[in-house]
């Protein structure tokens, strides 16, 4: 990998720490979490709050389900040439009671995954531009 700076592929959706977190919001009134962030209106039908605070979501959870991408997705996805298939996991976060999708780190396949497997959030390159390396959140099996 080059010496280019690493920047988030999508600005403000996760921290850049060694142990990164997704950044969501939480309704000050009812406690519902939102990812992506929601700061204007609460989507809980029993709540009409407009007050939210930014929160770091749990960085670990369990696999709800998983799959892979064997074909190159269309733009705006930026594919490596040649295209290398990658695994995808839907991970259930216990505290937030929500499921978040993401790629699984490079080098792992669906054979390495199982429903219920504990996972943690990490950052990995999504693609490279002339100026920088765009990184995003990915899931990797939690170190035991």
């Amino acid at each position: 990998m080059s010496q280019k700076p690493q920047v988030p592929a999508i600005e403000g959706w996760h921290t850049m720490a060694a142990q990164p977190h997704l950044i969501g919001t939480q309704c000050e009134s009812c406690g519902t979490y939102f990812f992506p962030k929601q700061s204007d209106y609460c989507r809980n039908p029993a709540c009409d709050s407009t007050d939210f605070r930014e929160v770091e979501l749990s960085r670990t959870g369990h696999i709800w389900s998983y799959t892979n991408a064997c074909y190159k997705p269309p733009a705006p996805f930026v594919a490596q040439e040649p295209f290398i298939p990658y695994a995808i996991a839907a991970v259930q976060l216990e505290k937030e009671q929500m499921v978040v999708l993401g790629q699984v780190i490079e080098g792992l396949t669906v054979d390495d995954l199982k429903v219920g497997m504990p996972m943690e959030l990490v950052l990995e390159p999504l693609h490279e531009t002339d100026d920088d390396i765009k990184v995003t959140w990915k899931w990797q099996p939690l170190a035991q």
Partner: protein, 395 residues
């Protein structure tokens, strides 16, 4: 007061990859439906079109586009866009007009010309658009179908053979449907030999996108009696409910489910809620159903729908399939049109095509695909952004 309306006529332009403008398919379907109903075009006072967003500006004004193509004659028009439920929403609009006493007989029509391959969003940097986000991160439509399929394997013990068996079943019956796009009888070996797209789903587990058009002539029961069609099949229910917060299942195009962390909030599965309203409205239950047309975007999803429609207890749809119960001649045939597996999805026409099939079946006109003694049929589909529908048609 009865909320039923009569189905006087149905028509479909064959599904395929014809490369024509969508209006042509809609007009062909409409003319077939009018002829089938024996109703002159000039007698139609309401044209309700299912819109497509992929056919440019005219797609946005589909009702008027079809009315103009058939020849302006002063009818009122409506255009509905509700993703995969567009046709059902257009049908509901016509039903409302009829039940309000403002229209006796209406044309409902939807048609589409679809692009090849993945359905992709507009470019740029648009993180506020969930569709843009997921494609940027490498999550396409088959990703979602595959996540659901894998979960069935893990929770219920469904196998790749089960998924292939859905394709084999649907292709066998679809081969007898002259309006289907794919009419080859595929084998389990064919499915297994097709390329993996999103594990565990192969190319032949996932439906294509097609060109197609479907149309329905609906009327008040009084009008049906007046023209000697008192025994025409009836629309007994149209459910168009939206989801209930919080979503239990991650749905296209979202990158995450809702959070069910707040007090008093439970996670709800949207698909299963769609037929509940339909059964209530029709005043019948799952045991009354003779056949079902469901949205098999993937083979595994047909099994999910069977359970969502309560035609099998949760987790037992594959057992029904293995016993041959969901095949033509079985206890509860599913997708005897051939389903999306044989048609490919033509979004604004697809929900209407499901109702067309039920109509032919209930009239006993389905030929080699006929379900013996069919009395009540149900459809189900789900699309993007909280759109879905379930329609019940009965004799």
């Amino acid at each position: 007061m009865s909320k039923e309306i009569a189905i006087l006529g149905v028509g479909m332009h064959p599904w395929g990859k014809w490369g024509h403008n969508f209006v042509q398919y809609g007009v062909a379907a409409a003319r077939e439906a009018l002829a089938d109903a024996g109703v002159p075009w000039q007698d139609i006072t309401y044209v309700s079109g299912g819109a497509t967003i992929r056919c440019g500006y005219p797609g946005y004004v589909a009702g008027a586009t079809f009315a103009q193509a058939l020849g302006w004659q002063g009818a009122e028009v409506n255009t509905s866009y509700a993703a995969c439920a567009s046709g059902s929403q257009a049908l509901a609009a016509a039903r409302n007009k009829i039940l309000a006493g403002e229209c006796e007989v209406a044309l409902v029509v939807g048609a589409d010309t679809t692009p090849k391959g993945f359905l992709a969003p507009a470019g740029g940097y648009r993180p506020e658009d969930p569709d843009w986000v997921r494609f940027y991160l490498g999550i396409t439509n088959p990703t979602y179908f595959a996540l659901y399929a894998r979960r069935r394997m893990d929770l219920y013990g469904d196998t790749l053979d089960d998924f292939a068996a859905v394709k084999v079943k649907n292709s066998r019956v679809g081969s007898k449907n002259p309006r289907a796009r794919y009419r080859k009888c595929f084998t389990a070996e064919d499915v297994a030999a097709s390329a993996m797209v999103a594990d565990p789903l192969r190319l032949m587990d996932i439906c294509a996108t097609s060109d197609g058009g479907a149309a329905i002539i609906v009327s008040s029961l009084e009008y049906a009696r007046k023209i000697g069609k008192a025994n025409a099949p009836r629309v007994a229910a149209i459910s168009l409910v939206t989801p209930t917060f919080a979503s239990a299942v991650v749905e296209m195009p979202d990158i995450a489910t809702d959070s069910a962390a707040a007090a008093g909030v439970e996670a709800h599965a949207y698909r299963a809620s769609l037929p509940v309203r339909a059964y209530e409205e029709a005043g019948i239950g799952p045991s009354d159903i003779s056949l079902a047309e469901v949205y098999d975007l993937s083979t595994a999803l047909e099994l999910d729908w069977i359970e969502d429609l309560q035609l099998a207890p949760r987790g037992e749809a594959a057992a029904l399939l293995r016993a041959g119960d969901t095949a033509l001649g079985g206890k509860i045939p599913v997708n005897v049109s051939g389903g999306l597996a044989c048609f490919g999805e033509a979004v604004p026409a697809q929900a209407l095509s499901q109702v067309c099939e039920l109509t032919w079946q209930l009239r006993g006109q389905a030929g080699d695909r006929q379900v013996e003694g069919a009395k009540v049929g149900i459809t189900a589909n789900q699309g993007l952004f909280g759109h879905g529908s379930s329609v019940i048609v009965k004799k």
